[in-house]
Amino acid sequence: MEKEVILKVSDLCKTFKLSKKQQKIQNTASKVKVAVDHLSFEAYKGEIFGLLGPNGAGKTTTLRMLSTLIRPDSGDVIIDGVSVVKQPELVREKIGFLTSELKLEEFFTPNYLFDFFSDLHGVEPQVREERKARMFKRFGIDQFAEVKVANLSTGMKQKTSLVVSLVHDPDIIIFDEPTNGLDVITARTVTDYLAELKAEGKTIIVSTHIFSLVERLCDRVGIVINGQMTVCDTLKALTAEKSLEDKFFEIYMETAGD
């Protein structure tokens, strides 16, 4: 069966300028840090694609470029036929982006925020109310829908962020470190939901450094080291001989060399 490519990353590059202080901290004379280095991969419709790599490998930077928060230096990402470089606003309509860096205003309640972001995404009120009822029930947010975000626990906040980032029911969901900082129960709720979304036919891109998460969820995996895509294959192929963890370290030794 021929799979449909819904997200195509080609030759993506991103460098950051380093300040004098940062140069000192990182003990380098180089004025630029290459965060993402000619990175390419494709994701198929309806799959969960995992970007696996150590901290600082460039996963988050890549996802930020996918979600149009930052612009690539060169290269492009085509999401459902739309270029993130040329039509970032159109891309933002198609994707849901979730990361712990995107915070919700603490003053407002989950209920208000759901409506507010629905408005910004142009969701019809009827659709919004139906969707809100369903999602709030699914995550138990209906219990604290009128409590200010400031007074919610970390898990509740994360659930609210998740729901709010999906108000427009996007077909492509980009999720940076989905279970970071969550307790086991909330983490399980989130990973279960990702599986549900996949069952609905959504495409999901996640970044993580947690092997078990990849093993449980992902259809295909890209291993990112030093801003480069070292291996990109199906989970099955990668774990044919040994566990994902052993495979990863084998690749890591070959690439990074220490």
Binding site: L69, I70, R92, E93, E101, L102, L120, H121, G122, V164
Partner: protein
């Protein structure tokens, strides 16, 4: 999607008006503090003026007949002392037990009458008046004496008078005088209040959202950056104006207390409805300009604290411009002055308050304000689009 602008404005209002503490600190408190402060100032001024009611203890050496009226006055309690007691009297003056010490030369009256400024070879007879400037009573007593002495001096050689009698010679109406005074003071107060109102809310809404990481959440929605910029500036201007208005109302209410009888004739008698409409237009569009500028400065800052500091130089510019009306030369007439942002608002306010303005200049100012604000919205849009400024940690 014009709706997004409305959505943003609604959110900003919900954020502001839903927060009782914020409403209190930026809408109620400024007016209240100013009212209380000015009322206290007004009371202490009138207390100072009250010293004219009290009696002054005055010691005099060699009191001449020509000055005997000093003794007859209600406010004075004159004691004649000998020349030898002068040093004691000075000590009493220092300790504020005495209000004034006047030492006349011997035979003051004769010397004075004999003195002719044209032919004299010696200096005129000198009266020594010792006072203590640290004491309000003593200063007032010294003033009283010099008034008396002046009267005596001029009555001795009266060749002509100016405006003698009780006729009113100043043809300016009471309203005109009020207007002139308002024109000197109010533009500065209005602009400063407006600025501080705009500063508080704008820094919070732009740098604050950046600091808390909530602005990035807005930036991943399909909303255009320009819609965010416009929505923010529009809503913040409204709040800035309301906050400025609070301070202004506080000032107006405390005016009668601050200025005594003159203030009581009131503000409402002096100005017409059209004046108020023009005033409103100038203030609202000036708020747009201020909010736009502060928002741009705030967007470069990582925290609210940093933003409040970074805005200081801009605030000094606004202050210096506002002070130009204190010279009281009235509003500029030539149109080109009204193309300079901020300065044009100062001039318009001075014109409106002094009831001497040209409508063209005010219309030009309002248009200039709107155009510059439009440019600022454009700049803010560009900034929202710049990852370097928005996400640099």
């Amino acid at each position: 999607m014009e709706n997004n602008v409305i959505t943003i404005i609604k959110k900003e209002f919900a954020r502001f008006f839903g927060d009782r503490r914020m409403v209190f600190t930026s809408l109620l408190m400024p007016g209240l503090i100013i009212y209380i402060m000015y009322s206290i100032m007004g009371n202490s001024f009138s207390n100072m003026a009250d010293t004219s009611q009290s009696t002054y203890e005055i010691d005099v050496v060699n009191l001449p007949d020509s000055m005997s009226m000093l003794v007859d006055m209600d406010q004075t309690d004159v004691t004649t002392i000998e020349a030898g007691d002068v040093e004691d009297a000075k000590e009493k003056l220092k300790s504020e037990d005495l209000d004034l010490l006047i030492v006349f030369p011997d035979d003051f009256d004769e010397k004075m009458l004999a003195y002719d400024a044209m032919t004299a070879t010696e200096p005129a007879p000198n009266i020594e008046v010792y006072y203590n400037s640290a004491s309000t009573e003593s200063s007032a007593a010294a003033d009283l004496f010099s008034t008396v002495a002046d009267q005596v001096e001029s009555s001795l050689a009266n060749k002509f008078d100016i405006n003698a009698g009780d006729k009113v010679y100043d043809v300016a109406s009471n309203e005109d005088q009020m207007a002139k005074m308002f024109a000197m003071m109010l533009p500065m107060l209005v602009l400063m209040f407006l600025f501080s109102g705009c500063l508080a809310v704008s820094a919070e809404s732009i740098a604050g959202e950046k600091e808390r990481g909530t602005i990035a959440t807005l930036l991943v929605t399909p909303m255009k950056r320009s819609e965010l910029a416009l929505g923010k500036i529009a809503s913040l201007s409204v709040i800035g104006v309301l906050s400025g208005l609070s301070s202004f109302i506080g000032t107006m209410l405390s005016l009668p207390k601050l200025m005594g009888e003159m203030g009581e004739s009131g503000f409402s008698n002096v100005y017409q409805p059209t004046d108020y409409v023009l005033l409103f237009l100038v203030i609202v569009t000036a708020a747009l300009l201020m909010v736009g500028s502060i928002a741009i400065i705030s967007a470069f800052c990582k925290t609210v604290k940093e933003a409040s500091t970074a805005v200081m130089p801009f605030m000094i510019v606004v202050m210096v411009l506002s002070f130009t009306t204190m010279m009281g030369s009235g509003a500029q007439k030539a149109v080109y002055w009204y193309l300079i942002p901020l300065y044009n608002n100062v001039q318009c306010l001075a014109g409106i308050f002094s009831r001497d303005y040209s409508l063209t200049n005010i219309v030009v100012t309002v248009i200039v304000n709107v155009v510059y604000s439009g440019i600022l919205v454009g700049v803010l849009t560009k900034i929202f689009d710049s990852e370097k400024i928005m996400y640099t940690k």
